[in-house]
């Protein structure tokens, strides 16, 4: 393997400029994602819940909650925890955030 000689910190600055910087829509999206994560984490602190239950507690639309839950599940922060009627329950796996 050839060892690359990359100065990524310098390159990142140029890359950021080249890509138009951290635009307002990007900032807004990042904030919305942080807020959603926090709200879902908060909702799940009391124990496993279904998607509609998380949506009701977090004030997020249920389709968005499903999308975030599946993202967190993919990256190992959320796990399936049984079933309640026609819905699966999900629990937060991380001890703290």
């Amino acid at each position: 393997m050839t060892q690359p000689v990359l100065n990524w910190r310098e390159d990142l600055k140029t890359f950021r400029e080249r890509m138009g910087g951290l635009t307002e829509p990007k900032k807004a999206l990042a904030k919305a994602q942080r807020d959603a994560r926090k709200a879902i984490h908060e909702a799940l602190k009391a124990g496993p819940l279904t998607i509609p239950e998380i949506a009701a507690k977090s004030n997020l639309p249920s389709n968005k909650v499903l999308w975030y839950i599946m993202a967190f599940r993919k990256y190992g922060q959320v796990a399936e925890a049984g079933q309640a009627g026609d819905y699966y329950r999900y629990e937060w796996k991380e001890a703290s955030e």
Binding site: Q3, L12, F15, M19, K26, N63, W67, M70
Partner: protein
């Protein structure tokens, strides 16, 4: 990036199942092949499917060994994440211009550990799961991806450098730029694949508007063991659906959206979905609203009978419109043909539109081939020269020349590779050790 030579015997454009098969068949005859794919991974549509009909074999179990074989073949050079810019005739051969898109990762040094993806915070809709799942801004396309390398999406990058900070081989390269590549090729095989008709093409069906109206390829992902939800769930709220409807010909045989032809696979994939859904969700009703069931291939009629026997309901009806009721349920207004045209409103939890197949790529003057009236690549004679495009030395296989199922695409890929080999023999000859007995005589 793989070391690119100036000259190849053959160029194959598109690394779905047809492209991979064509590349393997051509390389197997001793020709050096450059296989170009615009996506970050090879495998095309097939690697994202759950099962294949009528055998119900695992799709990726068939596809991934071919992907690995392509990647490790001595005579195949693979260029993923690369766009075809133009093909120009040069005598009997061709001059090809390509652009390698930046992954922002040094391919030779990346070990595919995935640490960059885990460290990356922003989430984006995952293309492989048709937006149902999420991915990070830097991500390995999927578990079966070849090459198993990440790609950075600048549209979602927040420039925090976390990916580079955790990379154990220092291979995140923010300075990468699109890289033009020029090669010469003796013969071309176009296997540019398919897209589905846009889900909102028929406004009366509410695709893109109602959350529980789905694309059939998205349903394939939901049914897959490595799918985005781990189960078949409604996108609106994660409910296990109790009543699922398929609307056939929702993007084919319809002049109003410019797709007058039959897409040839929709009846069979709807039946396949029905069977698989009944296997996973025993008490869920699956109803297929159809105009005609076209089960024309080997074992297809038996497959249709099997679906009926397993409880899939097939109702001869035309769906006029779909509206949304409370709780994101859907109400289908249907004309029931076998009941004298009676009109009924039927409620379902989830609806899959059996969208039509349209070309994944169309010639725009950059490649000297002609398009047929249906938008697919024109072939010279469907009966006896089905792999010949309108241009000498350019061959075509798979859905690039018209809708077809996987077995037909594979057979056609083999034919295209054979035609390409014969063209090379006619124009250039080949190394004696690979020539057949007839050629040596």
């Amino acid at each position: 990036m793989a070391k690119i030579k100036q000259r190849y015997d053959g160029l194959v454009v598109g690394a779905g199942i047809a492209g991979m098969q064509a590349a393997l068949d051509l390389a197997g005859q001793g020709f050096d092949v450059l296989l170009v794919e615009r996506q970050p991974s090879i495998g095309g549509v097939m690697v994202g499917l759950n099962k294949v009909f009528p055998t119900l074999d695992c799709s990726s179990c068939i596809c991934t060994p071919r992907m690995a074989e392509v990647a490790h073949h001595d005579r195949i050079t693979l260029l993923s994440y690369t766009e075809l810019d133009s093909i120009q005739r040069d005598g009997d051969g061709f001059h090809v211009s390509l652009t390698k898109k930046p992954r922002y990762v040094v391919e030779e040094d990346c070990i595919g550990c995935g640490k960059c993806e885990l460290a990356c915070q922003p989430l984006a809709p995952h293309e492989f799961d048709y937006g149902l799942g999420a991915r990070a801004a830097i991500y390995i396309p999927h578990g079966n991806a070849i090459p198993q390398l990440p790609v950075l999406d600048p549209d979602y990058c927040i420039f925090d450098g976390n990916c580079a900070r955790v990379c154990p081989t220092n291979c995140i390269d923010f300075a990468q730029q699109p890289e033009p590549i020029s090669v010469d090729a003796g013969v071309i095989i176009l296997t540019t694949g398919l897209k589905t008709t846009p889900i909102d093409a028929k406004k009366e069906y509410g695709g893109g508007k109602w959350l529980n109206v789905m694309n059939p390829l998205a349903m394939e992902r939901l049914q897959s063991s490595n799918g985005p939800f781990g189960h078949v769930l409604r996108p609106s709220d994660g409910k296990i659906p109790k009543s699922i409807a398929y609307v056939q010909c929702a993007g084919s045989r319809d002049k109003s959206i410019g797709v007058p032809y039959c897409s040839r696979v929709c009846c069979m994939y709807a039946l396949k979905h029905g069977i698989m859904l009944k296997h996973e969700l025993h008490d869920t009703e699956v109803t297929i609203y159809y105009m005609d069931i076209r089960a024309f291939g080997k074992g297809y009629e038996q497959f249709y009978r099997r679906a009926l026997a397993e409880g899939v309901r097939c109702v001869k009806a035309k769906v006029a419109r779909i509206s949304e009721a409370e709780n994101n349920d859907l109400v289908l207004r249907v004309e029931l043909i076998d009941e004298g045209g009676r009109v009924a409103d039927v409620r379902h939890d989830l609806v899959v539109l059996s969208l039509g197949l349209i070309p994944g790529w169309q010639p725009d003057g950059s490649v000297p081939v002609e398009m047929a009236d249906d938008g697919f690549l024109r072939v010279r004679d469907l009966a006896i020269r089905s792999a010949h495009s309108s241009a000498e030395g350019i061959f075509v296989a798979g859905v690039a020349s018209g809708p077809k199922d996987i077995p037909d695409a594979i057979v056609e890929a083999g034919a295209a590779a054979m035609e390409a080999a014969m063209y090379l023999d006619r124009t250039r000859g080949r190394q004696p050790e690979f020539a057949g007995a007839g050629a040596q005589a």
